[in-house]
């Protein structure tokens, strides 16, 4: 009898393991290939998302009030600095408007309707974050009903923070570029060097101990120096051109001395996200 129960326990453990691996493989395959999860999962996620807002809204509100009190302390200094910047910004903004208008007119002239730089923005609030050390992932409160589509780039503050990984009706999951899995941070980017040359490449990973994005396998001869700006190139897929990723922090030869490896300082603080913007390209 003792032997029988031991065998039965072993069988249960093995069956559980096999089922677990099968489920994981299937869900990873669905996540990688399909544009939306199965309908049941979407429906469930929408309901859970609604319930979660009951808990998340007070928590996020509390956080807002606490941080606003702490920010009150150095408001005066900040205000003086910002005043200077505002006067400069007004000038830049006027010029920007003029250029944008001119650009539009020129595009009409050559009958070019949408170029790679055109996108519309969907603003979304972060509801919650995955409590897991393996996935740097946040849930935002806009889904397919607001026009979010899988693989769209997501920005916060001044720069790129990640891409949409899963879309439900009223919420969606965003994988941050700090996530080090196989697909999270492969963005096509370009760098304009000081000499005016453009270098194209693909982001390849995130170095968590220094907080820098890495970019491998660059075989360019042109010199990339510290401080060069990295922006998305708009090549391949739904990412528009010209989203700011970060600035080059270090340029070194790779392990075999054949290509260049770049370390990029991200443009925004990637651990502190409240409001994000999903960039929608016209297709």
């Amino acid at each position: 009898m003792q032997k029988f129960s031991f065998n039965r326990r072993l069988v249960i453990i093995i069956v559980c393991l096999i089922v677990s691996f099968a489920l994981m493989t299937v869900s990873v395959a669905i996540r990688n290939k399909k544009s939306t999860p199965p309908l049941i999962q979407q429906f469930g996620n929408d309901i859970v998302g609604l319930a979660d807002r009951v808990v998340a809204l007070p928590a996020n509100g509390l956080r807002g009030s606490v941080s606003s009190i702490s920010e009150l302390l150095n408001t005066y200094q900040e205000n003086q600095q910002l005043k200077k910047q505002v006067s400069e910004l007004a000038q830049t903004k006027v010029r920007d408007q003029t250029l944008a208008k001119e650009n539009k007119q020129l595009k009409q002239e050559i009958k070019l309707n949408d170029s790679l730089t055109d996108y519309t923005a969907i603003t979304a609030a972060v509801i919650t974050r995955t409590p897991s050390s393996w996935q740097n992932q946040v849930v935002i409160n806009k889904g397919s009903s607001a026009g979010v589509v899988k693989n769209m780039p997501v920005m916060s503050g001044s720069g790129l923070v990640g891409r949409v990984a899963e879309v439900n009706k009223t919420n969606s999951k965003v994988e941050l570029i700090t996530d080090n899995n196989d697909s999270a941070n492969r963005f096509a980017v370009s760098i304009t060097t000081k000499s005016g040359k453009t270098v194209n490449g693909v982001l390849s990973g995130y170095k968590s101990d220094t907080g820098q994005i890495t970019m491998n396998n660059l075989t360019t001869k042109s010199k990339i120096s510290k401080g060069d700006k990295v922006v998305t190139s708009g090549l391949g897929g739904v990412t528009p051109k010209g989203l700011f990723v970060g600035t080059v922090a270090k340029s070194v030869g790779d392990d075999y001395g054949l290509s260049t490896k770049l370390y990029i300082t991200p443009a925004t603080d990637l651990s502190d996200l409240n409001i994000v913007t999903v960039a929608v390209t016209k297709q």
Binding site: V19, M24, V28, A59, A165, S208
Partner: protein, 173 residues
């Protein structure tokens, strides 16, 4: 007994409240908790389940079923990879029940049991993530950067929340 008590509704409400609080805590304190490379993950839902076993005593509860339900929601809503926590949470309940048979539960032994449970949760989720290529972290880096800080945070939470949760369970009974 269980069918007639407040526990019948109180336990699941508390369970899902803890589940959502995990996410909200991770979001609100993300600057401090996900301060790379060392990462602290809050597991309040595991705390609620383990306390369920510790304070069960005379009133048996369908903890495994609710652990599976919490696991399903966790997998679908938080991670998007189905099939990890849906097995890990019931396993934690099972392991805790086996240990409680040999050690009478009190504050200190509860702390040790919770230590074992968090280690199981983190280790199994690490193995699963490695298998499906969610992470490329090495075993030693996992021990130093994730397991250590996570254990520290969760044991601190156990110390703080043990008596409040016991009061809640006693009120629900």
């Amino acid at each position: 007994m269980y069918r007639l008590s407040k526990m019948r509704f109180g336990f699941p409400i508390g369970l899902f409240l803890m589940l959502f609080l995990d996410g909200s805590i991770s979001q609100v304190f993300s600057v401090h908790l996900f301060n790379t490379p060392s990462v602290m993950v809050s597991h309040l839902v595991v705390l609620w389940l383990v306390c369920g076993v510790l304070f069960e005593e005379t009133m048996p509860m369908p903890l495994a079923k609710w652990a599976i339900a919490a696991g399903i929601v966790f997998d679908l809503y938080y991670t998007g990879i189905f099939g990890v926590y849906v097995f890990v949470f019931p396993l934690v309940v099972y392991v805790t029940r086996v240990i409680v048979k040999y050690i009478s539960p009190n504050f200190l032994s509860g702390l040790l049991i919770y230590f074992i449970d968090i280690t199981i949760v983190e280790a199994l989720s690490f193995v699963a993530s490695r298998v499906v290529h969610m992470t490329a972290m090495s075993g030693s880096a996992f021990l130093v950067n994730t397991l250590g800080p996570t254990l520290a945070l969760n044991l601190a939470m156990f110390v703080v929340l043990y008596f409040p949760i016991r009061a809640v369970y006693n009120w629900l009974k």
